[in-house]
Symmetry: C2
Subunit: 657 residues, 2 copies
């Protein structure tokens, strides 16, 4: 037995799962000669007791790859292993079924079968059958030994469902081989599945005072008034961009201009002023009391609060004077600001982790604790790939030990190896390249990638836009483009998120840049939500979250399957959950077909792999579109027509058969 | 740094190489932020001293995969590792080249560069530069500090080849990361590269005695008379099918018939008779003295002798009575013969390894030693996949410890996982699926597979036919088919082999079976070698081996590259060896184009990746066909015409530029 999966670097990085998440354990298993063998995946609880043991089945033909799906029922540090063994009963059954009817060695086969059944019945210790099985196996041995009956009848008698079941429950395992125990980190469900909503709290309730000619900032209190609206759309997490004091030195103005005008609020990512640093709140937003009130309202509305963790400082951050050793210094004694030559970012001092790694980590740990103590349960980490991996590994392990439910989302738009390794180092979920995967080929490949082997470490979060990202597709696709990408995000990954303003189809970019014009990073942006009512996006977002809540298959990662569709502008994929992994005990299947062309109606044939979904292959399928409520009768090959905008997709559930 | 390769099961199975074989060490390397870094592959001798250290280069764009090619210069248990580090000099050069010409921070960059050069010069210990480098680096520091010169001139002065060379030889390595040491088994060159010739010694010199109406067996002495002919074709190894006493119980007759007629010699794979077992010689073949003489003639002709190791017994084998515990017994007390229900192979008793594994292994070890003591240097192991893997792992490790030059070839035509794991367990080389890879797509995929990552464990041996294998392509392709497959085998893998009679284009199958009619396994088959002269295959075989001997690139495994060709019946691939890995110190490039259609001339465009071969991309290329001696001038895109039979292929060498 070799190549057990999911295992990274021989177990140095634990594989991940969440409570109730079905995932595959696989291994390459083979043996010498032609005799039969068995293999099982064994799931072990943190206390060392066996939680589950599932027989593995070959996934292809001839490649010796075996797989079983399991799921854990509690958080913690689990392990798993694979066991394989010689299966003499299966070998005997195989041979007997060929030889006895052909009259070859029939008596000998009877004698050998009886001997094996007796051995199976008389086992003691770990393989010992229960009383009922023992009795059954002994009776079967007697049946085979009964010379009064013809061998073919004796064989038929022992190949009963009961004997089969006895061996399934108490298999005879000769030459047992056991893999090492491999680590499995089980997190709470929100680590893999959730709907996030990003907002700049200062925009909510901000207003322009014509009397003074100045803007008045929104506050945490006015931001809290947005929460019922966000909750009504079914989101699980409200994520706030940084709420800390903002520096004034080299403060950026509107649209990132190098000089701020009076009244420009500055980027919340330029953290730190005389009012404090990462453990403080920007005074114009309010106080810790206001923050606590925000968290209370969120919780009352069923939302968790996530905070941005942007580990960088404005030149005015208290750390700059109190801990100069936490910053890199140039040869002339000045602190090195961020730059990507020839570009300079003089409003930002990166942290320097090499001089006092322990002191800096302890301070960051303290800061995070401040927010955990005030009810923050998730952190969206800005640019983690610019900080050392050992720092993250140590910090996140430390926090997980004390606060296993606090989640960290990695915002690393960088090389795939770094993104994956950040996930392995402890981030619970990760932003992805979803925003840049727009064609059918790109989407099909990407859905399979993030939902494949990689999913054991990197849990994807799909965002159609963020405050930093507005792709050409989103700039040009209009309302339909926003609808299409919302469907793809909400169904394509179990975690998805939108950035405030998505409801209004805000799609105008600053010229030459793939981000919003008049970016909220640098100015107040209060919004009139009723302006979007006619476009229906808010309703769609709410409906998507409703569908996700109603269908556990949609809150799973590794169950995605692409189905062929002969139109290059249509993508078809499914998520399904077998009855044994479904909280309802019933099979859950959702088939999504999306027209990714925001301008034209499209039609084509889809070809569903019904067997892979556990559905009958030859029967008509009653499906119901969860977006429209309309019913259809499908077969494996079905014709689909989809228009842009409101009917850009089918989200089909299948009636239980 | 993650995913160091070649590493199997965290180092449980050593990677393999041979003396002088170039192979890649790779790893995924990346770091936080934008600073430069370096990575090196380090090759370490069995005594722990460093043999080579090669800077790794990125193999793609953005995937963070780095690679360096190395080669070991002696056999033994080597190790390798990967080191990576922050490269402050490369970071400074990158930034300075942008900022100084643009007048940004020029003085500061000068000061920082001077500080770094001084630090580099003053290093002590493992990174300490030699005296010349130290002087050079100090002078460069002074140059940068020289305020009399404009910064851009100072920069130009220090970006000299000399300073570059000093840093290349003595890189500044900050934040050094070192991988574990991984095992590397280095074998002698024949383990990866050689030309094998298979023969049944009893056929050579056998004759039909009309007087008695009986066949007279060839002997080891008459077989030895074939050796000069085999050596003249340039083969390296003569492999003898089993030469042990053959059983008479259930002896198979001609064409595998269940009843042998008087005079039928029986299959040499039914080993053992009252004359002895695996440590004895069939009396009609001769004595150990005759065997020693055979080995002497072979050695005098530059050939090594390989013997078949078929671990199974005829019912007449001495072990059957002396060691019944080495055989499986049925319920009725009889010994289990081989079967694949409903097929029975009553002439063969498989060995049973579970009752007395140590005793059986010791006896097999003793038998092998008998043949090693008589000059056998390689064993072709029949059906190793029907014996337990732990047996092979233990046996082959034991033999390698005492006889590191004795090679084992695995004849396992079974599931890929088993084939690969046998190689990992100690077999030096393996038969492959080459015989069944006939189309362009199949060949291109297979050449890349066996020469890719898998090549670190499984060394492929390409055989167009064996005494057991005669594929439809070989049955129907005529002389051209035999020529085409010889070229593909000899150039497609560094180890290839043919079965005696290939020279005569013996291509008639027993009806319904993919093997020779009148199979030599069951009868004598003396051959008139002059009958093949007109067909030219023997000449072709000799020429192929000559070309292989003259070109070290052809005796390498992991240097194969497929080049596109727009004709579906033509395959183009190359092997190349960089000057630093070539025994001549010069680049060696061989480009092979084969018309795989045995019936029609074919023509088409080939598109050579010249850059990958280390050749100038835009210049005309002078190539010489080693089969015909004709010269051509090629470019990256060249038009090729090939007829079947004698001009079925170009084997082009490139003149050194």
């Amino acid at each position: 037995m070799v190549d057990v999966a999911p295992v990274a670097e021989a177990g140095r990085f634990p594989a991940k799962s969440t409570v109730g998440e079905a995932f595959p354990i696989s291994a390459t298993v083979f043996r010498e000669g032609h005799d039969a063998f068995g293999a099982e995946a064994v799931l072990v609880r943190p206390d060392g007791t066996e939680a589950d043991r599932v027989r593995m089945a070959e996934t292809g033909t001839g490649l010796s790859r075996y797989e079983a799906w399991v799921s854990a029922d509690a958080t913690g540090d689990w392990t798993f292993r694979v066991e394989s063994w010689s299966d003499p009963w299966a070998t005997w059954v195989h041979d007997a079924q060929i030889k006895v009817p052909a009259g070859i060695d029939a008596d000998l086969m009877m004698a050998e079968g009886a001997r094996l059944l007796a051995r199976a019945a008389n086992r003691r210790g770990t393989q010992e059958p229960d009383r009922a099985a023992r009795t059954l196996l002994r009776a079967a041995a007697d049946t085979l030994a009964d010379a009064e009956t013809v061998p073919v009848e004796r064989l038929r008698a022992v190949l009963s469902p009961q004997v089969h079941d006895a061996f399934a429950r108490f298999p005879v395992r000769d030459l047992l081989t056991v893999s090492p125990d491999y680590p499995l980190q089980v997190d709470r469900p929100l680590a893999v599945a959730g709907a996030w909503y990003e907002m700049f709290p200062r925009s909510a309730g901000a207003w322009y005072d014509r009397a003074t000619g100045q803007w008045v900032s929104g506050t945490l209190r006015t931001a809290a008034s947005e929460i019922p609206r966000i909750a009504a759309m079914g989101f699980d997490v409200v994520y706030l961009t940084p709420i800390h004091p903002i520096g004034t030195t080299f403060r950026k103005g509107r649209n990132g201009s190098l000089e701020a005008l009076p009244g420009d609020p500055g980027s919340p990512y330029a953290i730190g002023s005389p009012d404090g640093g990462h453990d403080a709140i920007e005074p114009t937003l309010g106080t810790f009391e206001d923050f606590d009130a925000f968290v209370s309202v969120a919780r009352a509305n069923g939302l968790e609060v996530a905070l941005d963790l942007a580990l960088q400082c404005s030149p005015d951050h208290p750390w700059v004077t109190e801990h100069p050793e936490w910053f890199a210094h140039r040869a002339d004694g000045t602190i090195a600001y961020a730059e990507n030559p020839p570009k300079k970012y003089q409003d930002i001092y990166p942290l320097y982790f090499d001089a006092d790694p322990k002191g800096l980590q302890a301070e960051i740990r303290r800061v995070i604790q401040v927010w955990i103590d005030h009810g923050v349960t998730a952190f969206r980490v800005d640019n983690p790939h610019t900080k050392p991996l050992p720092f993250w590994q140590s910090l996140l392990a430390d926090i997980r030990a004390e606060h296993p439910d606090v989640l960290f989302l990695s915002e690393a738009f960088t090389k795939p190896a770094m993104m994956l390794t950040l996930a392995k180092c402890g981030f619970h979920q990760s932003y992805t390249y979803f925003a840049w995967r727009n064609t059918k080929a790109e989407l099909e490949e990407y859905l399979a990638t993030v939902g494949g082997e990689q999913g054991a470490w990197m849990r994807p979060s799909f965002w159609p836009t963020t405050h930093d990202i507005l792709t050409p597709y989103m700039q040009t696709g209009g309302v339909a483009g926003f609808a299409i990408r919302a469907v793809l995000a909400a169904l394509g990954a179990p975690t998805w998120g939108i950035y405030s303003g998505y409801e209004l189809v805000e799609n105008i970019a600053r010229p030459g840049v793939e981000e919003q014009i008049d970016n909220e990073k640098y100015e107040f942006r209060p919004r009139d939500w009723s302006a979007g009512d006619g476009r229906g996006i808010a309703l769609l977002l709410g409906r998507l979250n409703e569908i996700r809540d109603a269908h556990p298959a949609l809150r799973q990662l590794r169950n995605v399957r692409i189905h062929p569709c002969d139109n290059e502008q249509m993508v078809c994929f499914s998520r399904h959950l077998a009855p044994e992994h479904s909280p309802t005990g019933r099979r859950d299947v959702v088939i999504t077909v999306v027209n990714i062309d925001p301008w034209h109606a499209q039609e084509g044939w889809i070809h569903l792999d019904l067997a892979a979904l556990g559905l009958p292959v030859d029967e008509p399928l009653k499906v119901v579109d969860q977006l429209t409520g309309q019913s259809y009768t499908w077969r494996a090959d079905s014709f689909v027509q989809l228009a842009p905008e409101r009917s850009c997709a089918h989200i089909m559930t299948v009636s239980p058969s």
